[in-house]
Symmetry: C2
Subunit: 614 residues, 2 copies
């Protein structure tokens, strides 16, 4: 493909190590340990977008490489300027440690022929991106509770500890909507029995009922490598791939009969018994682990696809299967998954990783937008109070506020360090109080943004705009925004730019126009610098926007009558656009509606307790 000099590229699904891919080779292998900047990832999708306003989707489940400019054909003109040609020979090397975008792009798919390539056009990058999302069926429909705190409890927990954790959260006034159970809920995991452990969860139905009563939804960990103790093991064996994983079988969900068995099992035994969501683990491959970690790329599946194709598609097929099960049971879900690919936008699953670099986690939010994917910068533990603060703040305007405390028996505010937490060595009471207050503050802040974010998901579904996306999507011609991967748009009007522990300051380049400090209303243009001493999550608000902030609740399922404080930034606010209007007022239609500030306040579409003007 031709490539112009001033063009920058983005995409390839979840990319933790870089945002722009210009001048790089990206090899799209599924890898649960993407520690290097090579293109492999939990969710590598053959899909990229250009600052010139088009997107390219290569419709293949094969591992492929894309050379993003820089490979100069023999007949091509030199990439060196006249000045560069005179560089001393010992200095010329560095010329090649840079982008060279004078060359075409090349796509290399070693193991396939006749692959379709789709070009998504638009007046600009964002439009092309929206068209990709709409082509896939639009963004996902998630339940309101999918935006609340998702707290995953210790893997060795039993039903008493699960209920106790729920109680602790409520007692401490930490709003929470989802409790997640880790492998220990099953009689056997690695491989999975998908059966409740009688030892740990003898009264699991009562437990679920009790949790529901308290406003919690239940998310269960699983993977699809089935143990011989799993009730569908025997019926599934004939549809299994030719290799075992974790000594279990790998069902081929591309065979309708196998998918049906898998679906029905989930509907009858789990979803209809009160399970609202799943965490679909280990469906990504890894060459960093021992070979027994997954099935070989050359292995065959009964449907006719091979291991390489299955690795690419496993997450997507698994998500689709779970969504179909949920639909059958009439449940709107929002789960987690470790692998995804093309056609991810309509699937209500959030990606996650065992990696933990904070900057990478922030970059993941930015990069995922280009794939129509969602990513959680989950909190597992923290190196210090400030690290905890910064990681919690990063969650506030992220796709999912996930506290994944699977490896610690006690809540993080009791002890941030994983090892000490397991040993039962706790922080002093004053520090615990501080950490608890910090947690409460951050989750409350999330809760106040939930209606705003839910609206962004409505826009995702109906218009295709990813709710979380890199700043460059707003102004692709601005060179400062092109490589910036430390902030993202949350919805239309907010920019979140978390600080990370230990940094002195963070300079945030801004898209054109005026931007307000969310808290103080101070106005910035072009750029803003936040010092490492700044205690809050840096948030910038677009001029003339209206941000409705809900009064926090302990959970989201109890009706739609939020009470709002309305923040108005600028003197000439744009009409407020409702998507998914049903959470605001019964009188609003489901689809897009624009309402002026006056109507908003007085027109009963919101219960407004206060209006603040900045």
């Amino acid at each position: 493909m031709p490539c112009s000099e001033d063009e920058e590229f983005y995409g390839f699904g979840l990319q933790l190590k870089s945002l722009a891919s210009t001048g790089r080779k990206r090899t799209l292998r599924v890898n649960s340990d993407p520690r290097e900047d090579l293109g492999d990832s939990h969710a590598p999708a053959p899909l990229f977008f250009s600052t010139r306003g088009y997107g390219v989707m290569i419709d293949t489940a094969r591992y492929m490489s894309v050379y993003m400019g820089g490979n100069l054909p023999l007949a091509g003109k030199s990439a060196k300027t006249a000045e560069e040609k005179t560089l001393p020979s010992d200095e010329a090397e560095k010329l090649y440690a840079r982008e060279a975008i004078h060359a075409p792009l090349f796509m290399d798919i070693p193991a396939a022929r006749g692959v379709d390539i789709y070009i998504f056009c638009g007046n600009n990058l964002k439009e092309a991106l929206r068209r990709y999302v709409l082509f896939c069926g639009g963004g996902c429909n998630i339940p309101l509770w999918g935006l609340g705190l998702h707290y995953r409890i210790y893997t060795k927990a039993d039903e008493k500890i699960a209920l106790k954790t729920a109680e602790t959260l409520r007692q401490n006034q930490i709003p929470c909507d989802v409790l997640g159970l880790e492998p220990g809920w099953q009689t056997h995991a690695y491989s999975c029995s998908l059966k409740w452990s009688n030892e740990r969860f003898p009264h699991w139905q009562e437990m679920i009922a009790e949790l529901h009563k308290q406003g919690f939804h239940v998310n269960l960990w699983e993977h699809l490598f089935l143990d011989e103790g799993c009730p569908i093991y025997d019926s599934m064996k004939e549809y299994a791939g030719e290799f075992q994983v974790f000594d279990g079988i790998v069902p081929d969900l591309f065979i309708p009969e196998a998918q049906e068995i898998f679906k029905n099992y989930h509907v009858d035994n789990l979803i209809r018994k009160g399970v609202d969501a799943f965490k679909l683990d280990e469906c990504d491959n890894s060459d960093y682990q021992f070979t027994s970690w997954s099935f070989p790329e050359f292995s065959r599946f009964p449907s006719g696809i091979d291991g390489e194709q299955m690795h690419s598609m496993l997450g997507i097929k698994y998500q689709q299967t779970i969504v179909q099960s949920m639909k059958k049971a009439g449940v709107v879900t929002c789960g987690n998954v470790r692998n995804s690919h093309l056609f991810a936008p309509p699937l209500p699953f959030v990606l996650y990783s065992d990696l933990y670099d904070h900057v990478d986690f922030i970059r993941g939010i930015c990069s995922c937008g280009f794939g129509g994917m969602l990513w959680t910068p989950e909190l597992r533990h923290a190196a210090s109070e400030n690290d905890y603060r910064r990681r919690l703040q990063t969650l506030i305007l992220s796709p999912q506020f996930l506290m994944n405390i699977w490896a610690m028996p006690h809540p993080p505010w009791k002890q941030l360090n994983e090892e000490l937490n397991r040993q039962g060595v706790f922080h002093l009471p004053e520090k615990e109080d501080e950490l608890l207050a910090l947690t409460r503050e951050c989750v409350n802040m999330r809760m106040s943004f939930v209606p705003y974010l839910f609206m962004a998901f409505g826009r995702y579904q109906q218009e295709g705009t990813p709710p979380f996306r890199a700043l460059v999507t707003e102004d692709p011609e601005n060179p400062e925004l092109r490589k910036f991967d430390r902030a993202w748009f949350a919805g239309e009007d907010l920019i979140a730019a978390p600080l990370v522990d230990g940094e002195k300051d963070l300079t945030i380049p801004l898209p054109s126009g005026k931007w307000y400090d969310f808290y103080t209303g101070q106005i910035y243009e072009k750029e803003v610098i936040f010092s490492g001493d700044y205690q809050e999550l840096p948030i910038l608000v677009r001029e003339n926007s209206i941000i409705p902030l809900a009064q926090p609740r302990q959970y989201l399922d109890n009706g739609r009558n939020f009470e709002f404080v309305i923040n108005v930034y600028g003197s000439n606010p744009r009409p407020f656009e409702f998507f998914n209007g049903q959470i605001f007022s019964e009188s609003l239609p489901e689809n897009k509606t624009a309402v002026g500030l006056e109507t908003l306040i007085n027109g009963k579409c919101l219960r407004v307790s206060e209006v603040k003007y900045f």
Copy 2:
């Protein structure tokens, strides 16, 4: 391939990140930044050896994957023990973070059919390894000077600085045999003109003559991506690959005419003008750099091979071409190269890397033995005096004592830190004296081992035993040796086990029999622990062996009449075996000769000044 439970595997050429590959997937891609333990490397060869005494060579230039056990076929029996089956579900995960060697090996070559597989058998691992080496034509023949200090000077140096560096080395009594010049010798590098710079080296012929007079050999840096300023550019263009690299052409050396042009240019303009060796850089690929760093895998070459095949074979073909040039000019050479593959043993080139982890560098020596390859743990700079000491010591019994000071204008003893060295900030005189003395001591020690090591190279050539190899080659049934990658055999009777900076102590498992501390004669069996305080390079000597130590000289070319101290370890020394006997005495034949201690001392085959009994 079948695989037995107690079997361990080694090989795949240079591997910096692990020694044994059992239970792992190895993907053999050429990569100049092998930062992860995936099988990719500067020199990945489809060749592995088993502790059961056989080797497997897959004759392909394609990137391939080998699954080294662990992938359990659907019908295969479970890898779990009865006890493991009862593990709680939250603990079963760790079972798969281990080797599982109950499963067969699988080889996956996506892009080739009809590949030949060679099995090398033997009574043991070492014998199988020797047979591979002999199958390739035996180990390389290197000149004696190839074992002396190879000192590469600052890349911005001109001829005055080159001569000054030589003078400094001689004045400081640092023995040195090879001076290496970096890209700056050429009018243009990246891509290469292969022409002497008139600005920096106007009297290069006089400079070479002067260096020769002082006993130095000259090694020139180059790569084969040719600049339009290169005299053979026009004639080579028709034999070039379809992509440029560094804005230069990539000659296809698989075309005899192209190889001939390349050879003749080197013979006429460089080798016959006094150049004795080359450093063949950048002939490995890297996906970690910008795409312009090399040619794409899908690209085609006029001989009919593609970029993937060329990446695999480029180093081998390049080495062969240089060796043929040298032969034509009657020069025995020993150079450096950044890429190699199968059939490396007869090629007198030592691998190197831009990476710099000390433990990885030690591991490289161990792993290379299984590929019939040589590797230098080169010294470039050091973090501290102790780091400098440990890195220098690692070089003493390594394939090549390379001080690669290309990035520093001053010798390391003036300033170990690269940045400060460039700024001209020097250590205090006392520290400089200390570092200089340390350097002298380590190089002198190397010089005293040169005849011993040269003999090991003779054995390599004639019997196939790699001169440097992992301890497991000696006793594959010893479980302690199987994973040990911190020590290697140098020749038949010495084990070198360098300490690295900052470690508290190092426990070295020993092959069966008694082992002597080289310096003190203290006897160890089974294992020995060296404390981090131990100041010397830990060296262990096999019982009843005779180690001839030469009186150090300033360089090695001045005749064969070494004067020896003979160290005798044990009361019943085995006859001393000569290979490459010509460096010891004119009366000895070229081939293997065994001589008893008495004859050795009195029989005029060595000039012995002292015999020490331990």
